[in-house]
Symmetry: D2
Subunit: 144 residues, 4 copies
């Protein structure tokens, strides 16, 4: 399709407008069609007084990965349902990496598994998320 | 039990040490044994360029409500699994209220439903979360 | 709408054609718009050698309740996602009652909570299910 | 440990006592430590009048796979939570294969992904299940 945006262009455009992913300090390590690898460092302001990250932090990183992977196909998607399992406490200073696996890509929905690892390569969380795929394409206009 | 902390004392203590709940701007509207009602206002820095909140925001509010409700019984708990459904987009400026329902209270685990409403009283999200209940009691020492 | 089927007609029609719900021995205690109460007795052939029901039994009862509640509005629905929590072992001889709560009714999806109780009124399972709502109406033709 | 049962012995013992897995017609294709591959053929009595399998069928197959994989390590486990996504309708006559992936193996809990495929190698369902790991070992006594 003429003028269709690449996965990288779409995710750049999403990221530039995504104030919360920026607050989290998310790095885009790899972006491809249906796939994203993200990384972030857990800061004290994401944690409680015992140095353990709020449960929302791993979920938020995973939800950004889900959104980037799903939207990279070129149509606008939004998360509808996710389940999250937290295996190991996440601590201030941990560097987290989230990887996505596209389990199902349908016309109206798609499903992704997102695995979150710490810098010791322990899997700290598993997220299973579904998006609704709209019929609106990403365009250059969205990126302005 | 002599010296046992009240639900309010436990949640005050948790909140004072919970930098991320503070960043979210969470107000504790009601705290009771096994129950929490929380409120927050969605700010632009929690949203994308289209004014829609990141999926992690509703989840984080709900996870704080879950943590407060579960810990209010006096033993330390941590979220192990949650599922989240997002029904309606959440926007900058929305005032969200989260309420909890204790579905199951066992010896080692407990389960809560958390419903998130916007200021038009629309249910915007439903979270179903399980905690692991440790055998460590909350004490005055934890609150210093 | 002229000729629209009632919730009872739709569920009668579904049940008559649902060989597995019949094998489970499901009774329809109450059927209404967006709501179903079902009951069944757990038989030995649903259990293991220790007299504990297979995890699929509570889920299957709940999925029938979900299907009946969702379809009762008059359009054909199918389950897309569900999460199930099992709190208490279910045993041969237990009489289970499933009740539904319609959490969200949208145009394309709807969400239900299904609670399963045993005859001691203990909640043995909680299911959170989403259906896809097609644009096909239930008609008398479907019931022949 | 002297006299410890092999994964195959444990699963043989479970299967022989599992009347519902037998009713489903489940074949054990592969059993190993932390892993199971199962197969079954969908029969008319598992379906509705439109030839579509009840949602409980895919879940039940997956829950058997989860139970076999989890118990194969030698300690008795039971499912506590699962989420299930159904991507493609399952029909009478379909031959389903369920494979497991051990995502996390902790002391008290373990988590598995179970993927269900039809005979066209389409993924028809994804189940994400957690078990509670008791401290009771499987013994020869259990198999009598």
């Amino acid at each position: 399709m003429q003028g269709a945006l690449t996965p990288q262009q779409i995710v750049d455009c999403m990221y530039r407008r995504d104030a919360f992913s920026q607050w989290l300090g998310i790095d885009r390590v790899e972006i491809d069609k249906g796939r994203a690898v993200l990384r972030m460092r857990v800061r004290e302001e994401m944690c409680n007084g015992f140095g353990i990250a709020h449960g929302g932090i791993a979920f938020s990183l995973a939800d950004s990965a889900l959104a980037f992977a799903a939207n990279s196909h070129g149509v606008k998607c939004m998360t509808t349902i996710a389940s999250v399992q937290l295996f190991v406490p996440i601590r201030a200073g941990d560097v987290l990496t989230a990887t996505t696996e596209e389990v199902y890509l349908g016309r109206k929905t798609a499903t992704y598994l997102i695995r979150v690892y710490n810098h010791d390569n322990q899997q700290v969380a598993l997220i299973n998320g579904q998006v609704y795929r709209s019929d609106k394409a990403w365009t250059l206009e969205d990126c302005k």
